[in-house]
Symmetry: C2
Subunit: 332 residues, 2 copies
DNA sequence: TTGAAAGCGCTACCAC
DNA sequence: GTGGTAGCGCTTTCAA
């Protein structure tokens, strides 16, 4: 292993003390005289010693590391989530052991197993993994917190508040006088897409039961949003608002409408979900999710679990914020 | 430590074999009869056993993990780089130990020290850390590969080919008839900003020594690009091309010019560097860097170092690609 | 082919 | 306050 050359024994020998004392100095545990501390530290510096953490882990039965298992994601969401997790983890003295799992369940098994003994707990985001598969893959007794993953057997879980976000946006569209609001949904298998579609239906039913409900199903990408918008244009544009399941679809719709000479927001309002950086540039109204906060909170919950395993599992919703920009607001 | 309940000894007991045999089965080392293998595997499954990797690391002196030390970055660059590193690492059976270092050199020390004994090598991106500080923080004998970091004492290093990218773009601008090309530079302390500015001067000197050279210094963000563009407008726009040090500056310039009624690219061409996702949406010509490839390559070099420490250190440049879009091309 | 046992580097307990 | 040492869970000789 890298850097293993000098061990605690070398330090002890050079300092003229026992390994026990060296350990005490390094861990600030137990009593040592200033003299002892000084000789030990001198030896440490002279040798460029840093302790072997694997050995320490083995001895203390804790690794001071948190496992993070994420799907293969692109862009902002990934970096923000990792940033949040890292921030909270390093504040508490934990390092991150990262593993991307791709669609394959066998990889999840492998990734989780590989973490055994190197982490004190894991944060798992596996929207594509069935609950049973996930639980089988999770090593026995490994504290875990779930993010946007199906089921919640015995673990704390965190979810994006899709329902709250969508409902707020539907409310805004209604408040600004929209009457025929169509939803562009993502693929059915996608957990967030599913929840957002549900939320749209519920919000309409609750806030404006007399108004028509319509869902067009797409795939959460720009091209799909463009195609669906084109379909509406071909129909003679029988709508005055498009609530897309995510920003990329919304942007696709935005471009297509503008290219077709439809004025946004005058004729049609367009709204997204996620608040990707592009949204700000293109003046798209959307729902923003506090991703950094999601990561931070996941760490908090995990630490709580690790320190008191018998907490009843909770599911929390992460905050969501309505971001109103030009794409839904008539100029005043 | 998490999941430590069942050990190799429990498996051995249940299987009716020694721990040595269990180890052999699990590692596919040495000879075992099919019977033995079978009983062992049965016991493993029954107990839900997975080996404690910290113990294995200690015993084998290798951890099958790679340390990744990155600055606190936002967005696409971070996720793409980690994706590339993760992809290559997991293909070779390595896990990633991640640590964000912030500006503080003490944190770098801490992060690197914390990796000792848990990783077989590290990939370090520390553009803000002086070479001496970095080398002091790096535990003795730890194989390391540098990304976009100053100096290269004894380590393989990878850099973005800023010079090549800028030169190609300058060439393109000249080819399309631009004659007064001004460069919007980033902050002087920023390594990439510095290199790109240098490259601009060199490219101009080489390709068009008769043309004027002008650099306006900014800060690599949108507002800065906007401000510098405004300055040019106030001067009566004595340029026909803006080569920004990065995309965000270019976008700031783009908006400001358009709002001022300046037509891009007819009156002024605008080019960036990085190819952020926004660039495609806003039809900005730019230079794209293969970030995933950068990460992948870093892992390859690291594995090479770990397996044959006595290679002479090399510095490689990562490929760069000219992306030509509407912002620099006169419509034909 | 299998088992016993010696470490890997460290921490923590127990004596002094 | 300090040192000796047993173990943490695993791999890997060395004998049998």
């Amino acid at each position: 292993m890298a850097g293993s050359a000098v061990t605690i024994r070398d330090v002890a020998r050079l300092a003229g003390f026992s390994v026990a004392s060296v350990s005490r100095v390094l861990n600030e545990s137990g009593k040592v005289t200033d003299e002892t501390r000084e000789s030990v530290m001198k030896a440490v510096n002279a040798l460029g010693y840093s302790p072997n953490i694997a050995a320490r882990s083995l001895s203390t039965a804790r690794s001071q590391a948190i496992g993070v298992v994420l799907p293969d994601m692109h862009g902002e969401f990934f970096s923000e989530l990792v940033r949040g997790i890292d921030r909270a983890a390093s504040e508490s003295g934990y390092l991150l052991l990262l593993s991307n799992i791709h669609a394959d369940p066998a990889m999840a098994d492998h990734a989780l197993a590989a973490m055994r003994g190197r982490v004190d707990g894991v944060i798992v985001m596996a929207p594509q993994l069935a609950e049973t598969e996930r639980e089988r893959a999770l090593p026995r007794g490994m504290p875990a917190v779930l993010i946007n993953s199906p089921g919640n057997q015995g673990h704390h879980a965190l979810r994006i508040d899709n329902a709250g976000g969508v409902k707020a946006m539907v409310g805004h569209l209604l408040d600004t006088g929209r009457r025929t609001i169509v939803h562009f949904g993502g693929a059915r298998q996608n957990f967030d897409a599913f929840e957002r579609q549900q939320a749209y239906r519920e919000a309409m039913a609750e806030l404006a039961p007399e108004l028509p409900v319509r869902v067009l199903e797409g795939t959460f990408d720009e091209a799909s949003g463009a195609a669906l918008a084109q379909r509406l244009i071909d129909e003679g544009l029988p709508v005055d608002a498009i609530l897309a399941g995510n920003d990329m679809m919304a942007l696709g719709a935005l471009f297509t409408l503008r290219n077709a000479g439809v004025s946004v927001p005058e004729q049609v309002a367009v709204a997204g979900f996620d608040d990707v950086p592009l949204a700000r540039f293109l003046d798209l109204s959307t729902v923003s999710v506090d991703i950094v906060g999601l990561g931070t909170r996941a760490v908090e919950l995990l630490l709580e679990t690790m320190n008191a395993a018998t907490q009843p599992p909770r599911t929390e919703l992460s905050n969501t914020r309505l971001i109103l920009r030009a794409s839904t607001q008539k100029a005043t």
